[in-house]
């Protein structure tokens, strides 16, 4: 491709990229075919039926119903096929595999802050091992950003106030562009970074070589103590709040009668403000402004570490 002096396709470095490109090539083929058809017919008619006499008027016709139906139904059929294909592809990009490694991303004007559960933190870089699915849980401290990696054919808006997720399985070792794809202000085009895909051994070495490797859950535990969460949520607390042991992933009944799943999003909201859990007084103060998004993620990591729901159910029996 170097002959062309410019790239004509991005690196194909994730499991989805191959499938994605296949769909893209089919769409491109359809576009080229119909554009060529229309251009061809228009130019052919323009030459063949060019006006030969200044006053000439051609024979008239009203139209043709079978033709109208044909060029309504055939494009509609093509659209149905494309719709189904693209939707299946999309759903695949939205459902991370259960065994995916988790990485947490907080965006702000104008940088990407990454935390690995094992402890390492990075700015504008993300190191991942090749061949393993990675799930990103992302949020923003200010405006809407977008975590886009062209080589992986993935992209997702990073929205303040909610968690969005994105996943990929890198298939090629190398360094790839990370772009902010949602316009976010003056530094938008500087909000770029590098995804470093490493061999598993190299990745382990990299993890081990990082300074300051306190796992996220441990940091969360320290925060949990510092913020006084123990007072209500600890063992044998005097003013009991809902217990957090084994909470993650279970169903929570609220005072308003709703039942919600205690996932990342729920826990984030619960840290930032009381959710009104059934059976408990609404005493919890808001922690909005006292903890930043990275710390909220550490608190969630700690709560997650307090045992999976299965153990809790077993314990009850």
């Amino acid at each position: 491709m170097a002959l062309l002096f410019f790239p004509i396709h991005p690196p194909q470095a994730s499991s989805i990229a191959v499938e994605w490109d296949y769909f893209f090539y089919v769409l491109t083929a359809i576009t080229v075919f119909f554009s060529a058809l229309i251009f061809g017919l228009v130019f052919y008619f323009a030459i063949k039926y060019r006006r030969k006499e200044k006053d000439e008027v051609p024979p008239q016709n009203e139209g043709n119903l079978p033709l109208e139906l044909a060029w309504t139904i055939i494009p509609a059929g093509i659209c149905v096929v494309l719709f189904v294909w693209s939707s299946v592809l999309f759903i695949k990009t939205q459902r991370p595999p259960a065994n995916a490694t988790e990485v947490f991303v907080v965006a702000k004007q104008w940088m990407w802050k990454v935390q690995h559960p094992e402890g390492p933190r990075e700015i504008n870089q993300l190191h991942v091992p090749v061949g393993e699915p990675v799930k990103l849980t992302m949020t923003s401290e200010d405006v809407i950003h977008d975590f886009g990696v062209p080589a992986f054919r993935v992209k997702k808006d990073v929205v303040p106030g909610i968690y969005s997720t994105e996943w990929f399985t890198p298939t090629e070792v190398g360094e790839y562009h990370l772009f902010c794809d949602q316009y976010c202000g003056t530094g938008h085009s500087h909000m770029v970074g590098t995804i470093v895909v490493m061999k598993p051994d190299d990745y382990e070495h990299w993890l081990a070589s990082q300074m300051n490797v306190q796992p996220m859950a441990e940091r969360g535990q320290r925060l949990f103590g510092q913020l006084g969460c123990n007072t209500c949520h600890g063992e044998g607390a005097k003013t009991p709040g809902p217990p957090l042991q084994g909470l993650y992933g279970t169903e929570v009944k609220l005072q308003n009668g709703q039942t919600v799943t205690a996932d990342d999003e729920y826990l984030r909201n619960a840290v930032l403000g009381p959710q009104g859990v059934a059976g408990y007084p609404t005493l919890m103060p808001t922690f909005q402004g006292q903890v930043n998004e990275e710390e909220v993620l550490q608190l969630i990591a700690y709560i997650k570490s307090l045992g999976p729901p299965e153990e809790r159910k077993v314990a009850k029996q």
Binding site: F6, P10, F45, D55, P59
Partner: protein
């Protein structure tokens, strides 16, 4: 090639241009034809501003690190370009210039239903545009034309308020124009001018007017909410204040996607007229083309979520929006096929208006088909917010909407002025536009596919060659737009006299003098035939 010896055409002694003199006769006119001129001058001025911003942007992108500007200035340029072109040029272009001039004449009326309201619409437009220009020259706005929150409400330090006030005001001009056109088309048609005898331009303008009236209030509300949050910190969109940033996108695109059809539907109407006149033939499948305009207008209100596939919107909502977005492609395809079929066994002229129509059909086809990539949720995951999107909507907006506007100006210029422009220069400019356009936006499809995000002031070096190609194309395109400005102006003073029907075309506008008298028709026409009722051996050129 000997033609019937027609007497040399002469200008009518009294017509709408010379019936009255002095600035008052223009600024206080209620004549729809003169109001069309007021708009023509004002939107050409705005087009020049938007075009200048685009030129500076393309110049800056020649160099990966930015040739001329810091990112902060570049951001203001693309925001100004987008807002000016969308809200102050394209929205007005065909409806207010060609629509104002032609709707009453095409349906056999003396004027629009509410002539004073028509003039008021122009004043509202001028007021909005003036405020907007002041906001640009006193510092500008850097939010992008999409004004996404909470960037626009909490984080931007630029002239967001004054710029949105300008847009807010201008929106009312469009609402009133839409209302005026709807009433005019319903109530002012000449005897015998039934709905299915209307020229297809009228159908398109009717569909557009409905969108004006329904969609413009939504952007007004949305801009007012931005102001509420910016001034009084009412938490609507900023999660820091308890708001929802995605709510803004729902409101914005509920307006924004119909708005896209406000821009392209009028152009589709013009193309039907250009093809009919250029082929001297009834449009193939008239009723299918007419109803496809209505179908597009209706579906356009239900596809907004396709701008939001990656916001975390529910997958099920995404599926519905994706399916409806595919659905809106079909009436557009029907139009393209019918225009193409009209050219079959026609008498195809190579005059400039037909050249623009041919250009439109080709470029709009590419623009429409590349829209399928973005209606596909799967494909959008990679292409969203890249140059692929930029290329796609410029194929529709510039290759489609502006080609239609230029083609329409060339077809009806002799009617508006009574003069002919130099055909050779016009064809040359049309060719420049076609070549320059493709060179500008063709490479951007590849740029988007390889991953270059939109709205980047600086970019990785590997994207430079494609960016330089695009900038080179833009300079050709710019020349293609300046040349008509010169020969149109020249033709008003020195152009040969056109006569009432220089194209040998059908339609009520070609039955009256060029330029028309102030009241259009000396007596109310009685319509006895369908639109485009070309009769073999009966065309009268001159």
């Amino acid at each position: 090639m000997s033609t019937v010896a027609v007497e040399a055409p002469s200008l009518p002694e009294v017509h709408y241009l010379n019936a009255d003199y002095g600035w008052r006769s223009w600024l206080f006119t209620t004549d729809h034809k003169r109001i069309a001129w007021l708009y023509l001058f004002s939107i050409t001025f705005m087009f020049a501003i938007g075009g200048l911003a685009a030129t500076l942007m393309r110049l800056n992108l020649v160099e990966p690190s930015g040739l001329l500007f810091e990112p902060a200035s570049y951001d203001k340029l693309f925001t100004a370009h987008g807002l000016v072109m969308i809200f102050f040029f394209l929205t007005q272009s065909i409806p207010t210039v060609l629509g104002n001039f032609l709707i009453p004449i095409m349906i056999g009326a003396r004027d629009v239903a509410f002539p004073k309201l028509n003039l008021l619409s122009w004043y509202i437009y001028v007021l909005g545009a003036t405020i907007f220009i002041i906001s640009l020259v006193t510092g500008g706005i850097d939010t992008g034309w999409t004004l996404y929150t909470p960037l626009s409400t909490t984080y931007a330090n630029t002239n967001v308020l004054s710029a949105t006030v300008g847009i807010f005001i201008t929106g009312f001009s469009s609402i009133l124009t839409g209302l005026n056109f709807m009433v005019t088309i319903h109530k002012m048609r000449a005897p015998g001018m039934t709905w299915f005898r209307l020229p297809l331009f009228i159908w398109a303008m009717y569909a557009t007017s409905v969108i004006f009236v329904l969609a413009m209030p939504v952007i007004a509300i949305t801009l007012a909410l931005i102001a509420l949050e910016r001034i009084w910190h009412v938490g609507i969109f900023d999660p820091g204040l308890g708001g929802d940033p995605i709510l803004f996108q729902h409101l914005f695109w509920f307006f924004g996607h119909p708005e896209v059809y406000i821009l392209i539907l009028p152009s589709m109407g013009v193309i039907s007229e250009l093809v009919a006149a250029g082929c001297r033939k009834r449009i193939f499948g008239y009723s299918f083309v007419a109803f496809s305009s209505v179908a597009i207008a209706a579906i356009s209100f239900m596809v907004w979520g396709h701008h939001m596939f990656l916001t975390g919107q529910s997958v099920y909502a995404g599926l519905v929006f994706s399916a409806l977005s595919f659905a809106v492609a079909i009436p557009s395809a029907v139009k393209v096929f019918n225009w193409t079929a009209t050219m079959h066994k026609a008498s195809v002229s190579y005059d400039t208006p037909m050249l623009y129509a041919i250009g439109f059909i080709g470029l709009f086809t590419i623009g429409g088909l590349t829209g399928l990539f973005l209606a596909s949720m799967g494909a959008d995951v990679h292409l969203h917010d890249t140059y692929f999107v930029v290329a796609h909507f410029h194929y529709v907006m510039v290759g489609g909407a502006i080609m239609g506007y230029m083609g329409g100006l060339h077809l009806w210029w002799p009617k508006m002025t009574g003069k002919l422009y130099p055909e050779a220069w016009a064809r040359f400019a049309c060719l420049l536009v076609f070549v320059g356009f493709n060179l500008t936006f063709g490479p951007q499809f590849i740029l988007g596919y390889v991953g270059m995000p939109r709205r980047y002031a600086v970019y990785p070096a590997e994207f430079q060659v494609l960016n330089v190609m695009s900038s080179a194309g833009a300079s050709i395109l710019a020349v293609g737009y300046v040349i008509p400005l010169i020969y149109f102006a020249w033709s008003v003073f020195k152009g040969p006299i056109a006569g009432p029907n220089p194209w040998g075309a059908k339609g009520l506008e070609w039955t009256i003098a060029s330029p028309p008298p102030t009241h259009n028709f000396h007596e109310t026409p009685i319509v006895t035939e369908e639109a485009y009722a070309y009769e073999p051996e009966a065309a009268h050129v001159g």
